[in-house]
Amino acid sequence: MVFSSSTFLFAFMPLFFAAYFAVPGRKAKNVLLLLASLFFYAWGEPVYILLMLASIAANWLFGLKAGPKGASGRHAAGAGPDGGARKGSKGVLLLAVAFNVAVIGFFKYEGFVAGIVNGAAGAAVVPDLELPLPIGISFYTLQALSYVIDVYRGQVAPQRNVLYLGMYVACFPQLIAGPIVRYSTIQEQVLGRKETLAGAADGMRLFAVGLAKKALLANTCAILAAKMVEMGGPEIGAVGAWAGLVAYTFQIFFDFSGYSDMAIGLGRMMGFTYLRNFNFPYVSRSITEFWRRWHMSLSTFFRDYVYIPLGGSRCSVPRHVFNIMAVWAITGLWHGAAWNYVGWGVYYGVLLVCEKYLWGGLLKRAPRIVGHLYTVLVFTFGWSFFWITDPAQLVPYWQAMAGAFGATGSSTFWELTAWEYWPVFAVCALASTPALPWAKERLVAWAEGRLPRSVFAEGGTANPKTDGSESLCVLSAECATPARTAAFRVAQAAWDLCLVALLVLSAMSIVSGSFNPFIYFQF
């Protein structure tokens, strides 16, 4: 089940929230959330739900045993008697890491490894089981692993109630596509959160924005992207190839960030506050900055659990380079079990090293537009081999981008259909920037009678490490005068009307995806 489906929008979501708000008591709500999340997962994976249940049970046990022991002999989080962090059982930690890596390694990478081994051996030494990939395994496994590691480090207390841990691991808002929520973020919220009208409304606002990003922008761009890759380089030429790549660049951003917004919005409706996952990455002026804005929950996961344990930057230059390359190879591999993903990760690893040791200073001193253009070209090109996994298709596509097949290949400009999308691209380009937060900040500043703050800095006006994304959708201010209060209220009502319109248009778009006229001749 995906959020942008009729089943989720018109059945699961309304029924779940009706039950959630009707059920009294925190414990009952938590159990309902767990059951609903398991149902949500089983809807798409009726067999692999058992794997998830096994993962929950195993990580719960690991969590109970991995943490540092306190004076009472029970596991405790926090600092030890000497003020340093208390660490728990390393053996249990290693077992937990091995278990979780084995689970994701087997179900996601068995075929990939079999291909490598058999290719090297020249014979079918390892059988390729062709296992279907369990949905969300990359997310919930990392989430569970981060919990156990944080327990081991004494940063969080182990969750004694397996149902609550299950709720955290399986929580349907972030189950399939993240964000990767650290247990430390929601630890207090398991029992201490409060559902409020304001929270539900703000969550709904963010959900509407996320759904619009997915249904209206990402899905529209996906049409062109899919068509260009299907036609292939020789048929589309440079115009088609670049248009297709730009379409995919927007598609993946609005797809992913839209999903994150919906996940965070759904969580907010239940009283959870999750951290922001995307901070307008396409306005970055370096790749270093890009990766501080894109999929922040993933990059911070790899930073905290792989990069820093390897030594981070506090080591020799060769070791630092190795650390960066290792983290980025793993990051690439995490995205998919294929060499193009590894290549994509290595691509960014190399660029990050170069920015660190070669031209990073130059970028900082260059005009902003230069850094921005450089970053746009780099990440746009990078998406090409993230997107087209078959080298037999990728190479001609690159050739087309370079003009090897002329402007429009063997097609006419009209046939490409790329010309239809430039208004969509214009909207996408604007929506990729913090234009809306910029306008909002100016309005709020005016209402409050102060100078507006910059939204273009890396943190914007909010701290992405601590602030939820719903702050982007919430329009509130401490107005300076009654006249400004009245005007601001009109703006708030207009904003809400826009959000409702977005919700309705998104729902219409999703329903239209089921348009299926009886055409007996479709050739």
Binding site: M1, P14, A200, A201, T220, Q492, V500, V504, F515, F518
Partner: protein, 409 residues
């Protein structure tokens, strides 16, 4: 207080949107009647020409296979209130975006929505884009030509006429033809059909000869021909086979408004067509389907009652008759002799009566209908026709094979 009201209003409206299916389906099942414009309670769509998904039955096997989930998804999407309006409005929004995109380019045709194969043209038609020939088209051509040649060779005393309808899909006057790098048009049809048919098959290449013909003699919202154009084709075939000429007087409007398949499938209902007829008396003819004497479409009933229809979905099919597998016309006129086997598609019902008026018996076979299970050779053997007339738009030949795979064996 204001914040509270604002939040309640937002949540309430959002809840209305999210509960729109459950909130209407449950009362409907409990017996509440909804006004027709809401679309609640309908079990089929005239816009899409299909039945809506019925509520899927839950079951372990269907859940494990994913079929239950797929069917439920379809069921919920199908039962959104005002579903047709939702589809049309969504398409209209996309179309306005495309129209805006077209401003600097000024193409005279653009798609009716993103990824639509239908375009609207500045001359006021909605039509399907020309098609690129594929291997399936070549396979279908080989199969069709082979079957007709075999039949003609097996029955040398039977007259074979193959009317290849160029139609709006293949015409050089299709507004998208000039924008196409390679389309299935006259040259391709001649290379793959006309040139390969045996000499004992008379070929009529039914071409759209002028731009004016394209825009005035074919419907604006449908790929079919208007009756006057259909009768031009009848006259062309008739000149070969000695059919009676039809006096075309007193043309009248039988249906004032209908939306053709291009409008419906292209989700563009701003254009419509009227349907015209001639008050020709075919009372000597009797129509039989599955052994029963019936009215073929609404034509005869409307003429008897001197009625005109204001608006109806599927105007041409409803009026002249639809895609029935086998229709038999018997002519009570003693002067009519012989048997004709008429292999047709959806273009055929326009001229069935006219053809049938020339023969004692006319069997109309429509292999677009899956129920045509017998091969062409078997049909000829069964009906022993003196004349076989095959009238097809060959662009649709792959679909014909898919619907009735035995027909060309």
């Amino acid at each position: 207080m204001y914040e509270r009201i604002r939040n309640i209003a937002l949540v309430a409206v959002a809840a209305c949107v999210l509960f729109c299916v459950i909130g209407t389906k449950v009362p409907e099942k409990l017996g509440v009647d909804f006004p027709e414009w809401t679309g609640v309670g309908l079990d089929k769509s005239s816009l899409e020409g299909r039945k809506y998904q019925s509520p899927p039955k839950p079951g372990i096997r269907s859940a494990l296979s994913g079929k239950f989930q797929t069917r439920l998804e379809k069921y919920l999407a199908d039962h959104v209130p005002m579903r047709d309006e939702v589809l049309l409005k969504n398409a209209a929004l996309q179309r306005s975006c495309i129209a805006a995109a077209n401003t600097p380019f000024r193409f005279d045709s653009y798609p009716t929505f993103f990824d639509s194969i239908y375009v609207i043209n500045t001359r006021g038609v909605v039509c399907r884009s020309v098609r690129t020939p594929t291997e399936k088209h070549s396979e279908a051509a080989r199969a069709l030509v082979g079957a007709i040649n075999r039949a003609a060779d097996a029955y040398p005393s039977t007259r074979f006429v193959f009317d290849i309808i160029e139609g709006t899909y293949s015409s050089r006057f299709n507004p998208t033809a000039k924008y196409s790098s390679n389309y299935l048009g006259k040259q391709w049809i001649e290379e793959n059909y006309v040139n390969d048919l045996n000499d004992n098959v008379t070929v009529v290449y039914d071409e759209i000869e002028t731009e004016n013909e394209f825009f005035t003699e074919w419907f604006s919202t449908d790929h079919h021909w208007k009756l006057p154009r259909a009768l031009k084709t009848y006259d062309s075939i008739g000149a070969i086979l000695g059919w009676k000429k039809v006096p075309l007087n007193d043309k009248f409007t039988a249906i004032r408004k209908w939306h053709g398949s291009e409008a419906r499938n292209g989700l563009y209902m701003d254009l419509s067509d009227s349907l015209e007829d001639y008050p020709i008396d075919f009372s000597d003819l009797e129509c039989f389907i599955n052994g029963k004497r019936v009215d073929r479409g609404l034509r005869e009933k409307l003429l008897r009652n001197n009625q005109v229809i204001d608006s109806i979905p599927y105007g041409n099919r409803s009026y002249f008759g639809g895609l029935t597998a086998t229709v038999t016309w018997k002519n009570r006129n003693k002067h009519a002799k012989g048997t004709c086997l008429f292999v047709e598609q959806s273009y055929g019902p326009y001229v069935e009566r006219y053809i049938a008026s020339n023969y004692s018996k006319t069997i109309c076979l429509n292999p677009v209908n899956k129920k045509v299970e017998k091969p062409l050779m078997r049909a000829i053997e069964e009906y022993s026709p003196d004349t076989v007339v095959i009238q097809l738009n060959v662009v649709d030949a792959p679909g014909l094979i898919k619907q009735s795979p035995n027909f060309l064996t």
